[in-house]
């Protein structure tokens, strides 16, 4: 973490950060939701600077402004300044200071407590972590891959669907893999983004130690959040293994014809998850998987790839839900955009996005017109049609 305090005054509050690259609409999820400039990246940076200078005191409202940033990195993409790559780090740095002072929103505090006490932010029993995984074998030394499932896919029923579908495809391809089941620990990506660096380090150390003990060389993550932190944060703590997001593995299996999807008729639009796209530049693999399925017509939303509009779930907001409420919530905005494409299916590659967007489809009363499905579910469906 760099010394953000000595740099943060450099924001000019020009507002480029609010937009996608074509300026078509506002692309900062918290600004789109709240519409006060204080909730834009520029607003947040100016308020952090004011807080550091002692010009404003801590308040619950200030903390909410800090924590409604989903860390989606749209601002990083759009800011014209040289410091652009550091913006999210600055916000995380400020959150970290808030954590150290014990001044965080109650929902964020509960998030930390749940992960600390239960190993997941949903406050569900560790022993139930593999309840979804009927018959999936545990990782054993010699397996090619460890399938790291993650919290949402372990506990949330939408995520569990994704996990079961992924397992079906891996099994169909004869992949060599296993899971950690109740030994799996939260990856810590959200903990990092929320600024609890001590807890993050503890989680990273536990996971890295367990992987090392088991001789894990390759990890498949179902969730882009886990992929991001294992790929970009764990190496600094000694993580020495290759990490793949499941869509990369699926793409590879299809290329090598170890998976041969048959027909699935659907008009599909794909939502880029922030931690796969903007964080890790993985845009084409998920699309190639979708295009490989005969019968799928892939249509793009107006905002896609680097310009994709975040579902609002990042930085733990899929649990803390600080951006919820009303038709301006990012997930509802995104679902309307997906619906405008004429797609009948909104494909996702992240269980967090799946949770957010599934709820938003219900709120928009689009249940009958738009299904939200994981890419692994679509592929699994295409295999079962054989």
């Amino acid at each position: 973490m760099q010394d953000y305090a000595s740099q943060i005054h450099r924001c000019f509050r020009c507002g480029y950060c609010k937009f996608p690259s074509d300026y078509s609409s506002f692309n900062c999820p918290s600004y789109r939701r709240f519409r006060f400039d204080s909730y834009s990246t520029g607003g947040r940076l100016w308020l952090i600077y004011a807080w550091l200078k002692g010009e404003i005191e801590w308040s619950e409202h200030l903390a909410e402004i800090f924590y409604t940033c989903t860390a989606c990195r749209n601002c990083v993409e759009q800011c014209p300044m040289k410091f652009a790559p550091d913006i999210v780090d600055w916000i995380v740095g400020a959150r970290s200071d808030m954590v150290e002072k014990g001044r965080i929103p109650p929902r964020v505090a509960r998030f930390f407590e749940s992960v600390h006490g239960y190993g997941n932010p949903l406050k569900l029993l560790r022993g139930d972590r593999a309840a979804w995984a009927n018959g999936v074998r545990r990782y054993a030394p010699g397996d090619e891959y460890l399938l790291y499932v993650g919290c949402l896919a372990s506990y949330d029923e939408n995520g569990q669907r994704m996990a079961r579908a992924l397992v079906e495809v891996l099994n169909a391809a004869g992949a060599s893999y296993g899971i950690l089941a109740e030994e799996e620990e939260c990856c810590g990506n959200e903990i990092y983004m929320l600024g609890e660096m001590g807890l993050f380090q503890s989680l990273a150390d536990k996971n890295i130690g367990r992987f090392r003990d088991l001789g894990v060389k390759k990890v498949i993550t179902l969730c882009p959040h886990g992929y991001n932190t294992m790929k970009n944060n764990y190496p600094a703590s000694g993580g020495d293994f290759q990490v793949y997001h499941c869509t990369q593995v699926l793409d590879d299996l299809i290329k090598r014809t170890e998976v041969k999807p048959s027909s699935l008729e659907a008009r599909v639009t794909y939502h880029d998850p922030c931690f796969l796209g903007r964080y890790n530049n993985i845009y084409e693999e998920p699309r190639r998987v979708l295009r490989s399925i005969p019968g799928i017509e892939l249509v793009e939303m107006e905002r896609n790839r680097r310009d994709a509009f975040c579902c609002g779930g990042g930085s733990g907001n899929f649990i803390t839900d600080l951006l919820a409420g009303g038709e301006d919530s990012p997930a509802r905005v995104r679902v309307r955009e997906a619906h405008q494409t004429g797609a009948d299916t909104l494909a996702v590659a992240c269980p967090g996005c799946l949770t957010m967007l599934t709820a938003a489809v219900k709120s928009e009363n689009l249940d009958e017109e738009l299904a939200v499905r994981g890419i692994s579910e679509l592929l699994s469906g295409a295999l079962s049609n054989q």
């Binding site: 000595s6 005054h9 450099r10 924001c11 000019f12 509050r13 020009c14 507002g15 480029y16 609010k18 937009f19 074509d22 300026y23 078509s24 609409s25 709240f34 519409r35 006060f36 400039d37 204080s38 607003g43 100016w46 308020l47 600077y49 004011a50 010009e55 404003i56 005191e57 308040s59 409202h61 200030l62 402004i65 014209p80 300044m81 040289k82 410091f83 409420g325 009303g326």
Partner: protein, 463 residues
């Protein structure tokens, strides 16, 4: 002072609780802009969504004697939307609907929160044969606020100030009435802000929100050619720049003429860059215009007073981009998040004098400078920017930058310039020099339109 609970409750009733804030955080942010004027907090920040809501807010403000400051993106940098007497800031950006594009009459009608970025995108997607005059401010700048401050843009050389391109207004008067200005007051069409009627738009443009709140605006659109290019003339003789700009304008072939001066990178030092933008629907048209530009400057080229640089595409890209991100990047030259400019509107003959002054002032105050001057109209005047970057974490540098700007503004005024988007101190300088009868007329207009003095008080305030 924090506003009264009764006013807050009434604002909540009008716009909904999600769109009113009296939190310290919003009051802090909306108390300042990116420039150097001292902050002053509003009591409330309000995000209206309809003209009807604004009418109710204005009536409330009159009843309770609460100042109102309408705001676009707050990018003027001269503190024009800093609420000098508190009250409420109306952030207009929720009113973001593009209501109509009339392709044949070539105008668009937008709500007050529509940004230049969004309008550019909308036209590009849906009406690619049309464009508007995009300013160099960031894309968050609103069309209405830019017109209210008499902004300039990429079509100003051909068509004047962006406010000259207004083709109609809907305004909430300071007493709450909704009023339409121009052809739209008698017709469903928004093709003219005045003629053949009395032009009442002047009661609202340039007044910085002191005479009413513009809620809708008609804006003239212009043909969008399929191709654009930029040609670059260089000279180390400042005294030649006005002539070069005039020659380029005389061709009637260039869309935009801009002269730039800055000391860094070193290849820019002591050199003036004059950019001529040309457009065409075919390569032949573009080539013809290129030739016209060459011909216009040929004798200067032959005498070696002017060079014409062939630009690689990597250099052309940033120059052709609209809006220009490079303009914004100037704020980080001092790695400090700040820049401000004094931008007098002046005869182009003043260019050499202003450049000399800019260099002197920058040296005296130890500041990094740049200048971008845009031709407005067919040489009728230019906007000359005395721009200084500063570090917001360095109070001394900020103080020097403010003094430098003040000195430049006074100098420009002495030389016959008129200060653009003048801050409250510069407004006083202007009014001190103004013809007393003109000043009296302005005072009568303000008193007539805003009897309770609630509209953006502190600005254009006549003793």
């Amino acid at each position: 002072m924090v506003g009264s609970r009764a006013v807050y409750d009434e604002l909540v009733r009008i716009v909904g609780k999600d769109f009113v804030s009296d939190h310290k955080e919003e009051r802090y942010f909306y108390a300042r802009d990116g420039g150097l004027m001292p902050p002053h907090e509003p009591d409330f920040v309000v995000l209206p969504n309809t003209s009807e809501q604004i009418q109710q807010i204005v009536k409330l403000a009159n009843r309770e004697q609460v100042p109102i400051v309408p705001q676009g993106a707050g990018l003027a940098l001269t503190g024009l939307v800093i609420p000098q007497r508190g009250g409420m800031v109306l952030d207009m950006k929720r009113m973001d609907r593009i209501l109509e594009v009339n392709e044949q009459a070539r105008y668009v009608v937008v709500e007050a929160g529509v940004t230049h970025g969004t309008l550019k995108n909308h036209l590009h997607r849906h009406h690619p044969q049309l464009r508007h005059s995009i300013p160099d401010s960031p894309p968050t700048a609103t069309v209405v606020a830019n017109a209210v401050i008499h902004g300039q843009g990429r079509l100003s050389q051909q068509h004047g100030f962006n406010s000259d391109m207004v083709s109609g207004l809907e305004v909430i008067l300071p007493t709450g009435e909704l009023c339409r200005i121009g052809s739209c007051s008698v017709s469903p069409y928004w093709f003219s802000k005045g003629p053949p009627l009395p032009d009442l738009s002047s009661l609202f443009l340039g007044w910085f929100g002191t005479t009413g709140i513009i809620t809708r605006l008609g804006l003239k659109l212009y043909p969008c050619k399929k191709m654009r290019d930029v040609m670059l003339a260089l000279t180390d003789r400042a005294e030649l720049v006005p002539d070069i700009m005039l020659r380029l304008s005389h061709t009637e072939m260039v869309e935009d003429v801009v002269a730039a001066a800055q000391p860094l990178p070193l290849r820019f030092k002591d050199t003036f860059w004059i950019m001529a933008y040309i457009t065409g629907d075919t390569q032949e048209e573009l080539e013809f215009k290129r030739k016209m530009v060459w011909d216009a400057l040929w004798d200067l080229f032959e005498s070696r007073d002017v060079g014409i640089l062939s630009l690689p595409s990597a250099m052309k890209g940033p120059l052709l981009s609209m809006p220009s991100k490079d303009t914004t990047r100037f704020a980080d030259v001092s790695k400090g998040g700040g820049f401000q400019y004094a931008g007098p509107i002046a005869p182009i003959e003043k260019f050499p004098l202003f450049v000399k002054k800019l260099e002197e002032v920058a040296a005296n105050y130890k500041l990094f400078y740049s200048s971008t001057s845009r031709l407005i109209g067919a040489g009728h005047c230019m906007m000359f920017s005395f721009s200084f970057s500063f570090n917001r974490a360095n109070a001394d540098e900020m103080s020097r930058a403010k003094k430098a700007l003040d000195e430049c503004s006074r100098f420009a005024l002495e030389e016959g310039g008129v200060l653009w988007k003048a801050d409250i101190d510069e407004q006083k300088l202007l009014m001190d020099r103004m013809d007393p009868n003109t000043l009296g007329l302005m005072k009568k207009i303000r008193q007539l339109l805003d009897p309770n003095g609630i509209m953006n008080p502190g600005n254009w305030e006549i003793e």
